[in-house]
Symmetry: C2
Subunit: 300 residues, 2 copies
Amino acid sequence: MPKICQNAKNNYESSFMMFKKIYIFGLGMMGASLAKAIRYKKISNKIYGYDINKKNLFYAKKNNIINELESNNYEHLSESDFIILCTPISAYKSSMNIINKYKKDDAIITDIGSTKESIDILSKKIFENHNDIFIGSHPLTGKEISSITNSDKDIFNNQIVLLTPNTSTKKSLINKVTRFWKSLGCKTRIIGAKLHDDILSITSHLPHLVSFALVKIILNKKYISKIEEYTGGGFRDFARLAHSDAKMWEDICSNNPKNIVSSLDKIITELNLLKSNIKNKKFKKLANYFNQTKLKLEKK
Amino acid sequence: MPKICQNAKNNYESSFMMFKKIYIFGLGMMGASLAKAIRYKKISNKIYGYDINKKNLFYAKKNNIINELESNNYEHLSESDFIILCTPISAYKSSMNIINKYKKDDAIITDIGSTKESIDILSKKIFENHNDIFIGSHPLTGKEISSITNSDKDIFNNQIVLLTPNTSTKKSLINKVTRFWKSLGCKTRIIGAKLHDDILSITSHLPHLVSFALVKIILNKKYISKIEEYTGGGFRDFARLAHSDAKMWEDICSNNPKNIVSSLDKIITELNLLKSNIKNKKFKKLANYFNQTKLKLEKK
């Protein structure tokens, strides 16, 4: 079994002013939450921000989420030590091209996208010294409402960030970005981009798609005026997933299609099995299915 | 459109000693939680309890969850004004027969089962004056761990209870059981048993089955040692559903098979649609699917 998941080094260093200037490229809910957390934890002297949507940009400046907004010519981008790509994945290509054109030679870059393999491939194409400057990150945190007004400095506390270096990624880069996430209060895990996309297609992408489908069915049901009148707490939490940003989920599906199709096949098979057991009154088999799953879950 | 959901009367009466003697038939997590809540809210002078499992019975007495345990001859059952059936649904037939044999003439009965139509039919068969004494209840609350040691007086606070009278159920019975649930802090809704089973097959039974299936797939995935290392908060809450009692879900499936099979068909159709759109790179269609669902959800 490949060594896929190792705790990153524990040699925690003071996060204080880890970077002089951090650049947040994309100020949606996640980008702005990052800026707030960085400011709160005092990880850099300056936080610069950019967003194609001027409303977000002005909101971020006005509310002191960032120190300076990028107004033109990408002058702040060219001063920054650490650039965090927080746009939708579909905007990565143009964003990376801008970053590549204006960044300092020794600036390092990460992103927060929910798929990793296609991003790694793209980065290799765009950044000449990819292995020295780019490493993918995926913080397993978020909020359903994706607007900047919903940003929150606390969403990173105690959450897991998956880092996806390739075999040639510079060790010091991995350590630096690991320390950054740890200084935000996150726990980090190292995993290859390919395996990341495979595992997350099951643990994250599939549950989200299932939530959209379940909520759609419930909303189409006659006589249900309010979902919460007929659902318990567990499902209400799950249904929140269907508030997620549609564009983000389009991007995730288009960047991880093979794994997601295979995960959908898996659940369709399971649901057909459950259906067939119910139809054929094989209730002992059903009980066994539930029991085995529950027992296995409790052992984990 | 039939009037399926109406707020029960608001003429809240003091709950103080609403019943002299309440009998909890089945002391699992739910039954014991009910006993604790009844005691805490001072709804009856005495709470009697019975469980086929002597361990539960002695635990309940020792921990003052009930005032008296039923030791033999069902003498406490024959004194009780209000009997709440909290056994697994598969034990209802034998439990109702016992209740019918020993209960006082004017005792009233409810249950807390997750399906309602088959229970209503059973009750009609067993209790001669069914419409005067029995009404089904379904509190939309619970905990994943079903043991008595996990019982909790607070699980009813502010939760919804669906009451399922039939058209001939005595009005005063509906009002009395409604007041009981309200005095525990619940909100009540009236719905026919048939429609209850139809709606709940989608809003509760389907999400639970999907959770079992999702968790099974995740647990079968190589390289995942801990689910929480690769999942966000929304899914973790949802995955808790798969901790639910296997026997309870066997009973639910065997008591509501037609509706559940139809609900499974619905979600399989949706998941096949999503799969086909991803496979055929119809990402705009996908985005539209997500967006429409999200918008509709936000309007609710």
